[in-house]
Amino acid sequence: MHPILADVRKLLWYLVAWLLVGVVMAGTLALAGLAPWTKALVFAVPVCVVFGFIAPSAYYVCRSLPLARRKVVSVVAVFGAASLLSGLAWLGICAAWSAILREAGEEWAVALPLPLAAMLFAGGVALYLLSIVAHDVLIGIENVRAAERRDAQSRLFARDAELQVLRTQINPHFLFNSLNSISALTTADGAAARAMTIELAQFFRQTLALSHQQKIPLAAEIALCRSFVAVEQIRFGSRLVADFDVADDALDCLVPPMVLQPLVENAIKHGIRDLVDGGVIAIRCFVRERWLHALVGNPVDADARPAEGDGVGLRNIRQRLATLYGERARITWARDGGRFGVEITVPLEHAESEAGR
């Protein structure tokens, strides 16, 4: 459907425009001395309004020749033919209206001598060409907008998919090693095997529950980290110590789920695991003014390999934060000799203020 005809308001403005064209035409006739003002108006305005319904057909003419697939020959042929036809139609309308007016009474008649007819024809062709150009521009703008919309939509989908993947990402190494530990414990220490099974189940249950939400209280994220550490402590024994220092006023702050847990996981994978004697992972969360700060620090083997995976996990978190907070969140990391530290800063939001949403 034509974009102007489909919208009542646009249609009204469009008709007003053609009424004005009619007035201008009448004025030209009057000034040229071909007819007095009233006669000129009665003649010009209706034909212009009728032509107003012919001109939009240019939309379909333009669409028949998509911008991307145009050749000079076909453009000249199709647009020229359409314009000439429209010019003829316009002349026909003018002649018919003139005849009708003459029937109505001699006092309304506007004569159409040959020079005037030629001018009307030329004017009709020119107006139609103008209509073609205007429609081309319109279609061009429409195409650009549609492309932008599609682009934005696909980016949105891509982000959604990415979040989905990130959320459901379960580290298989962690899972299978834990199961192996349980397998080892069953004969030697059945109670410990059961305890580890329960810790592992708890961790995955929390992961599943949290991953559906966009933001969760920090307390829930910390609980997830604690479950994770509890499982890992069975695997690594005394080599792994975690020191949680979370300020009370930070506990009900909202954070995206699974932003700290991967940091703790990294601290073990790239830090503690490489150290023969293990070490302490320090997790600190506190509120400063309008910001929530979360820090995870761990010792690293001074002569260890450069961080595996080139910080893909960290960049994923940065991407997630950017999706959720734009410029207002930050994640930075640095290695300083024997220590590695990550700091996340997000704008302060509280669980209560979110409840009404």
Binding site: L175, N180, S181, A184, R235, F236, D274, R305
Partner: protein
Amino acid sequence: MSAPLRALIVDDEELARRLVREYLRAHPDIEVAGESRNGLEAVADIEALAPDLIFLDIQMPKLSGLEVLEATERRSGVVFTTAFDEYAIKAFEMLAVDYLLKPFSQERFDEALARARKLVGRRAPALDRLLAQPVPKLERIVIRDRGHVHVVPVADIHYVEAEDDYIEIHTADRSFLKTQRLSDLEAQLDPRRFVRVHRSYLINIDKLKGLERTTKDSQVAVLANGRQIPVSRAGGERIRDCLGAK
């Protein structure tokens, strides 16, 4: 009855070692010679204990299981254990190297052990092939030199020179000898970073400072540490291709 087989258990997790030890209890003719908690310990233990069988975890601190084999040039009696390592498992499958996927059962363990037992002391060609595999994103090279294990980050390498049947790896101020063919190392390294400039030389393109023409037909590559490396005609073209592609 012959002397018992001696086994070394290499894993950084105590429970994982305990499990292998437990499964071995069903095999009284095998005695546990020792346990290693990381790659470096494993290298020392393999040298010192010369075990017949090695249960070798892949992901470990210090050195990975594959790097342990690389450093010790041990090619026999190895049973890999791993929880999850997509790359390694793919290689094992392709080369028909036996491995145990954690958690594994006593039955599965016994099968692997039975196969390993038959091959004790025999060099396994599959392991040679495994270690010659190009490693995705090889980041460091393990070199064993007079009782020391050196871990050289690939980024630190300036150039590698081929000698008779070994190579000399040069960093800014040190060099290490390794028994390997230059073409094998070249195949493992990122071709966008390492360019074979000469039959006997491989250079790190990041360390290249410039090319100098010495005579009408010959040129040398000047590296960041001032070393000049001869460049063959084909080598010069490869450098230009490599720089052009960046």
